[in-house]
Amino acid sequence: MRSVGALLRKDALILGRSRATAVVLLVYPAVIAVLIGLAISRAPGKPRVAIVDLTPPGQSVQLGGRRVGVSEYVDALFKQVDAVQVATRAAAEREVSSGEVLAAVVIPADVVSKISSGVSQAHVAVIYDGDALKQSLVRASIDSALAEANLALSRQLRSITLQDIDLLLKGGVSAAIFGAPSRLVGLAEIPAQLSALAVRQRSTAAAQELRRIASSTSYAVRNLQLSRAVLRTVSEPIAPTNVILHGRKTPLDAYAVVVAVTISLMFVGVLLAAGALALEREEHTLTRLARGSRASWWPTLRGRSAPRRGSAPRRGSAPRRGSAPRGESAPRGGPALVSIGELICAKALLAGACAFLLALAMLAVIGAFVPISWGRAGLWVVALGIGALAFAALGLAIGALVSEVRAASLLAFLVSLPLAFLALVPAGALASGIYDALNAISFLFPYKASLQALDAAVNRASPAIGLPLVHLVVLSVAFAAIARVALARVR
């Protein structure tokens, strides 16, 4: 372990001397952490939208005997967006072009007549700008806002209709229904009244006619009562009820924190480990450090003191005693300055420790913006620590394959970046075969497991932390073994 300590001190010294690396390592996660924190905590909850209401003031939709003001629709729309009132369509287009607003909604003057007609659908114009991605984002936001506003208007219209149906059924005083008498007899009361009248009739034919009308009225009442439920269903056919199958519902901002911290953990761990190991080859020091280690299993050489200068080797001294069988190679060697295992251990500890500390600091900084449970800090430490070691092991496997720091950094980026994206592809976003293939690739690298472990630690998300941690430990051992084999071949 003395060798590991000496190597760690040396690597820390080299890291400290490389100002650019130190600055990037310290500043990058800090800046990212603050930016993410600000972005999450101060994100506009509603899209900023310009609204041009071209309807004449006070215009209302005539529904039965009542009127619904268009302003109520506009108000409903205003609730869904961060609304900016604009007088004309041209002004709205200017606002959209300048980026002041994400989009503009133009409510045309004929919207009232269209709704009141009951046969043609009213239209509002939505004006977008920007690239395809921005348009897609804005359209989704605006469509959602318009749907909410439509729903609000629809509910209002339904409510009025239901009130009218109630009045028709139960009767009462009404000034709302156009042309209705001031005191309405409820349809539901009519069959009983007609039956009573039929009993008092002398003429059998008249009584039968009254009973027939009473029966028809009863039928109308039953159907009108049914129409209440039908109206409710038609106006909002599907009402979602959210059920979480397992785990705990993770707020999007808390999940975003975990994603950002895991990405930083990955970059620092992989890049540092790959760079630190490649540096040994770039500086040609790997050979000096590990010289003799290839045959270090040669038992007779272990623990033998080195003869000092000028002393001749004793006849039959260790390297030749017990000569190898004929036809086999003749291993020779002594204890190397540093075994490949110790070298890997030192690099993994350095990269892992740096990644761990920076990710922990990042989590703490973002925690100032987003509410996360500090009571689970112990689990954060475990998840970050094992994740950092897994990323460091991946970096070592990469660093062992190349002989230059630049090449190692490039390769580390090329490997890491797609992994992060692959792990974030949601199930159902792709055909199942492709998704399974991506899942299998993600399984072979530590990003997804680290993300799951940290999400479980921070957000109590499912799956539980145990399985991802075991996965990470297995990956760490596997990548360290790859690095060891690669180094033994190239040194």
């Binding site: 060798s3 500086e283 050979t287």
Partner: protein, 268 residues
């Protein structure tokens, strides 16, 4: 082991199988073949990289304080031989009397941390070598290599000559009985070369056996007590420079080397 390698130095070995038999014989009799007075003994050293034979049945003994130059064309097996003796490579067959920790290794490319200072490099490797008094060893090495004034300078900012001196200093840290230098003067200008050879000669004068490879034949002629000429992995000549001159009838060492190679080619 001085003189010609075998009765007919230009004769190619009959075949690989014969070379293999030679190596096995040497292995079997390794104990008896070693020289009791040698600081370093090598017997039947072979190295194969797949089907290619890089080194074939090389034997040599090196006395304390002796300087032996290994010369040959590119691909002759010089670096392979030195790498095996230093423990960087393992031999396919054959034996070396010293374990790698008893051999000081000065690779062709300076193996140093350019971001660390001279003293920090020395201190790190002294610590890794478990030196009892790290600071004392570092101070002694700085004094021996004349780098005391540059102790705190980063290696990356040193001249090629001084960087090579640090490289040599790292090879000497454990006070090894044998020091192996792979083309130590390559890429140095003449004054730097001169200073480096002064240092190497001083090391030999202090009792270390020095084995070095070089492409600069004048250096082999001037500084080496004996010369090992390798060709395609086989020993072509092992003896004093004067013996090579006498053998080929040439007055210049470089000419003698070329004549030796030509005679071998003609004998094939």
């Amino acid at each position: 082991m001085s003189g010609l390698a075998g009765s007919d130095p230009w004769r190619a070995e009959a075949d690989d199988a014969a070379r293999g038999r030679h190596a096995h014989r040497a292995a079997r009799q390794g104990e008896e073949l070693l020289s009791a007075s040698a600081a370093l003994s090598v017997r039947g050293l072979c190295k194969r990289f797949g089907p290619r034979v890089a080194l074939s049945g090389v034997d040599l003994d090196l006395s304390a304080g002796e300087m032996l130059a290994v010369v040959g064309c590119n691909g002759a097996g010089k670096t392979t031989l030195l790498s095996i003796i230093a423990g960087v490579e393992s031999p396919s067959e054959g034996y070396v009397s010293r374990s790698p920790d008893e051999v000081g290794w000065v690779p062709q490319q300076p193996a140093l941390y350019s971001t660390l200072s001279v003293a920090e490099n020395l201190r790190l490797f002294a610590a890794l070598q478990r030196a009892a008094d790290v600071d004392g060893v570092v101070a002694a090495m700085l004094a021996q290599t004349g780098l005391g004034g540059r102790a705190n300078e980063r290696v990356g900012r040193l001249s090629g000559g001084n960087r090579q001196r640090v490289n040599v200093a790292l090879g000497l840290l454990s006070d090894p009985p044998v020091i192996v230098l792979d083309e130590p003067s390559t890429a140095l200008d003449p004054p730097q070369r001169e200073r480096l050879w002064d240092l190497i000669c001083e090391i030999a004068a202090n009792g270390s056996a020095v084995l070095f490879s070089t492409h600069i034949l004048q250096e082999a002629h001037r500084y080496a007590d004996r010369v090992l000429v390798l060709d395609e992995g086989e020993t072509l000549f092992l003896g004093a420079p004067a013996q090579l001159l006498a053998l080929t009838g040439c007055e210049e060492f470089e000419r003698a080397f070329v004549a030796l190679l030509e005679q071998r080619s003609a004998g094939r």
